[in-house]
């Protein structure tokens, strides 16, 4: 199991995308290339008038059994031994996009300009400095949280509707389902 992960409280995510703007500016991710490490996916379940609507803020889930790492032929993707964060070494990336094809969450982003992949680092620099990822720090409602998986397991569930089967890769994300 990875040491850290994300928790999304679906009853609090208002799809404001502050997380995405924080991610982009902290990590210097280029704009205009559809390279979006984090984004909010809007969900509407049910049939009017009995509907449940909410956003799901999603980036790389730093899977404990990461298919992207297994698929990477150049060794660009690796798991940090200390805490399980999945990291990309762009200097080794050959842009084959195998990781993209095996990731059930669309986390690795292909940068057409650089001809390389690009992805969420869980703000590893901030974690190493004892701070939460930039996306979590700015979330206005506290819908997006960060913590140790041991704690997140007590707070949330592994599966929600339309989320890829977690048994495939053991993603480091949990959800507080929306009531009603």
């Amino acid at each position: 199991m990875s040491t850290y992960g994300f928790l999304v409280d679906l009853g609090l995510c208002i799809s404001c995308s502050a997380c995405e703007a924080a991610c982009k500016t902290w990590n210097n991710v280029p704009t205009g290339r559809n390279v979006r490490w984090r984004r909010v996916i809007d969900q509407v379940l049910g049939v009017w008038p009995k509907v449940s609507a909410y956003g799901v803020s999603m980036a790389c889930n730093h899977c404990a059994d990461a298919p992207c790492v297994k698929a990477c032929p150049s060794g660009a993707l690796s798991v940090r031994a200390a805490d399980g964060i999945v990291l990309l070494d762009a200097t080794k990336c050959i842009g084959c996009r195998y990781c993209e094809s095996v990731c059930p969450y669309g986390a690795p982003q292909y940068d057409e300009t650089e001809k390389k992949m690009s992805k969420c680092t869980m703000c590893v620099d901030r974690i190493d400095a004892g701070r939460a990822p930039a996306c979590v720090e700015t979330c206005p409602t506290g819908a997006l949280q960060f913590g140790r998986m041991a704690d997140l397991d007590r707070l949330g569930v592994r599966q929600i509707p339309n989320f890829a089967d977690p048994s495939y890769s053991d993603p480091s994300i949990r959800f507080v389902p929306k009531e009603g």
Partner: protein, 749 residues
């Protein structure tokens, strides 16, 4: 040189001085402004500066990281109890505005005499001296030849320097967007509780009920955070909204569908229940309001507004209304927020809706109480007129082209009326000979084409702005304003102010290009046009730095502005002492507003229908939202937020779409009695089958805004403007702009 032809290379060239000392621009703008020429002489340095965001009025505090003279990152200021260290997408995208290569960079004048949206004005760069000499000469000449009222000003009544400048002109034709926002609520609040307030203590509320209000969905951090906090503490949240994916409905315990424009019926029915069952806060209502004095009239007024009556109009079951009313009255502290736009400006009954909601809060006994709407406790920062008293301003005629003077309450406020501007200009042909427009887009008006047609007729117009939005295509001279990130100010908190708080706004970088802060522009322009008003008693020109130092000192914030910059944020924490009198004439809250009755308006919120109701020709209600990553039309060109949401679509209920033969992504035509737009269809189960929703802020027509240009369509094209006669005919005491009061047809193209 024209802005239109500005390339990246030109951008770097013109920005050479602005980037002195800069080595590398933020990577997320890579590809936009690659690498600035690096003088390399200055040592690399990183600083953290406290400042206040300016993209909405709540002004969240932030810490900016400035590396080698370049703003790279902003983060919320944890010690600021308003933002609490959080920021929204608009605020986080700070560098995206500052380093937007499309910014207005230097003064320009037009060379093409043809004034029309979509026609290249043929801009040429001019000096500040030429721009302001021309603008001042035109202003003096226009006033002399055609009178003060021949100058049209589209701009807010603040800040203080702007007010001084407009007072020098002495025109009664100053208009702003207040009627589209909170004018109705302002008139109501002033007359009921004694003043307009932004403050809502959600965090301490136990019961929150909202009517169309969706400041959560707008990601207004001060409220989104507080409502979320209330929810975590166990408060119940009920959201009435025809769109269930609205942020407030998402976060609510109960998201209740309501027919657009019928909120007033539900609120009046809630009041009916609370009065009939005696559930109001008796101590508060009997002790602090005029209830007892007018009890018979009040009870008689609300008697017919039964939940069963409201069900017919709203589609909300009578039992639900009754239950929510009881819960609201007994599970408090309870609050029903009114901020702006919704519910006060959307429909022809917006004023009455604001009025009814205000009374609901009064009955809950939470005005200026924990968990309720409260009056801000603010530092008193003197304006420039207090520091450098001006000579006597010219008298204003008090008569304006839209006819505010015919409406006693709107005349008293003296703001607003964008919704009536096109009508007013049409009825007074040739009256307006000069226009001064500051930071407004024509997208801010209902039915923009008719406003554009009128503004284009003005012989000479000066625009000050940050970005080249389409309104500058109707200008003769454009003055580039600095961003708040390049300016200085003191911002007294008024959106969450249980005690006095002031935050500094300080330059994170020097003004880029040839831009100037608004105060500097008006001082320079004023010295040329009205010199006696822009000088000190000793005849020397006013020095804005001296004024700012004096403001700091007199407000008790420090010896001078430098000290305030060092402090960043000043909070005089003090216990919240609830008011026992209110700033009305009697000191009591007016549930029954005699002043309204005396002027021929209804003294209590009286049911009336919205203006446009569905018909065979236009069977659907039009709804709009302001997406949380944008602020109306002003942020759309920012690359960071544009990438997140850069265009709009029309949301249609899945069943409705099926009936119309519309599939996801089909281009559809949305038509109202005044206009038509085309957008891709987005099918959703989250909207009422009788509504369609078009997000606001998209459809920019200015080619100079390279990110926003041509993306999406303007919802406002579908919304009819109105006249003061319309407002008077419906006896609307607050002058709602009816910005969502439209019905439309929808068809596949």
């Amino acid at each position: 040189m024209t802005l239109h032809d500005t390339t990246r290379r030109d951008f770097l060239k013109t920005s050479g001085t602005a980037f002195a000392g800069a080595a590398v621009l933020p990577g997320f703008l890579d590809g936009v402004v690659r690498r600035a020429a690096a003088p390399g002489a200055e040592a690399a340095a990183t600083s953290q500066l406290v400042s206040a965001c300016s993209w909405c009025g709540s002004a969240c505090g932030f810490k900016a990281t400035v590396k080698d003279g370049v703003l790279t990152f902003v983060e919320g200021l944890p010690e600021d109890p308003q933002g609490g260290g959080k920021m929204c997408a608009k605020g986080k995208a700070a560098a995206g505005y500052l380093y937007d290569p499309d910014r207005l960079k230097y003064p320009m004048k037009r060379t093409n005499p043809v004034k029309k949206i979509g026609v290249d004005p043929g801009w040429v760069k001019i000096s500040w001296d030429e721009a302001l000499d021309t603008a001042a000469a035109k202003l003096k000449e226009t006033i002399e030849k055609n009178g003060r009222d021949s100058v049209l000003v589209l701009g807010l009544p603040s800040p203080d320097v702007w007010a001084r400048f407009v007072n020098c002109i002495g025109t009664s034709n100053r208009f702003d967007h207040w009627d589209e926002c909170f004018l109705a609520n302002r008139v109501v609040s002033a007359n009921v509780i004694g003043g307009f307030v932004w403050c809502h203590d959600f965090a301490n509320a136990k019961y929150i009920v909202t009517f169309g209000w969706d400041l959560v969905g707008k990601a207004k951090v001060v409220w989104a955070r507080a409502v979320a906090e209330a929810k975590k503490k166990g408060a119940k949240i009920v959201s009435f909204n025809p769109y269930k994916a609205a942020g407030t409905s998402v976060i609510a315990d109960e998201a209740i569908s309501i027919r657009p424009g019928s909120d007033l019926a539900v609120v009046n029915a809630m009041i009916h229940v609370i009065l009939a069952e005696g559930l109001y806060d008796e101590t508060f209502v009997k002790g602090l309001t005029n209830f007892e004095e007018h009890e018979t009239a009040i009870r008689a007024h609300f008697a017919p507004y039964t939940p069963e009556w409201a069900e017919e109009l709203s589609d909300v079951p009578a039992g639900t209304i009754r239950r929510i009313a009881r819960e609201f009255a007994t599970q408090g502290p309870a609050i029903a927020p009114i901020h702006k736009k919704t519910p006060s400006a959307n429909y022809a009954n917006g004023t009455e809706t604001s009025f009814a909601i205000t009374i609901l809060n009064v009955l809950a006994g939470t005005i200026d109480r924990p968990g309720g709407r409260f009056f801000p406790r603010t530092h008193s920062i003197p304006g420039i007129d207090a520091i450098v008293p001006p000579p006597k301003y010219p008298a204003k005629s008090g008569v304006d082209i839209v006819g505010r003077h015919a409406h006693p309450f709107l005349k008293a406020v003296g703001s607003g009326m964008f919704s009536c501007l096109a009508d007013g200009m049409r009825k007074n042909p040739g009256k307006i000979q000069m226009g001064i427009i500051t930071r407004y887009s024509t997208m801010a008006f209902p039915n923009p084409p008719e406003v554009e047609a009128e503004l284009a007729k003005i012989p000479f117009t000066v625009c000050t702005d940050l970005f080249p939005n389409e309104i500058i295509e109707l200008a003769d001279i454009v003055l580039p304003q600095s961003l708040s990130y390049e300016s200085s100010d003191l911002v007294a908190r008024d959106h969450h102010a249980p005690y006095k708080m002031t935050i500094v706004r300080q330059p994170l970088v020097p003004p880029m290009f040839e831009t100037k802060p608004l105060g500097a522009i008006l001082l320079a322009w004023g010295l040329k046009a009205f010199p006696e008003y822009w000088k000190n008693a000793d005849g020397t020109p006013i020095n804005m730095t001296v004024v700012l130092n004096e403001k700091t000192k007199r407000a008790g914030l420090g010896a001078d502005f430098a000290e305030m910059k060092a402090k960043g944020f000043v909070a005089d924490v003090a216990p919240f002492v609830p008011r026992t009198t209110f700033p009305t004439a009697s000191g009591k809250i007016n549930i029954y507003v005699k002043a309204f009755a005396d002027a021929g308006f209804e003294p209590l919120p009286t049911w009336k229908q919205k203006r446009d109701v569905p018909s065979d020709a236009y069977p659907f209600y039009l709804l709009t939202i302001i997406p949380p990553m944008q602020i109306r039309n002003t942020t759309t060109n920012n690359r960071i937020v544009n990438e997140i949401k850069g265009t709009n679509e029309v949301f249609i209920n899945v069943q409705t779409a099926r009936g119309l033969g519309i599939a996801e992504g089909d281009t559809v035509k949305v038509r109202s009695r005044v206009g038509e737009i085309q957008l891709p269809a987005r099918l959703t189960e989250a909207i009422r089958p009788d509504c369609v929703l078009v997000p606001h802020g998209f459809g920019h027509q200015s080619r100079l805004m390279t990110q926003a240009y041509g993306k999406g369509a303007k919802d406002a094209v579908l919304v009819p403007g109105q006249s003061m006669d319309d407002i008077l005919a419906r006896k609307d005491v607050g002058g709602s702009a009816c910005i969502m009061d439209a019905v439309v047809s929808v068809s596949k193209v």
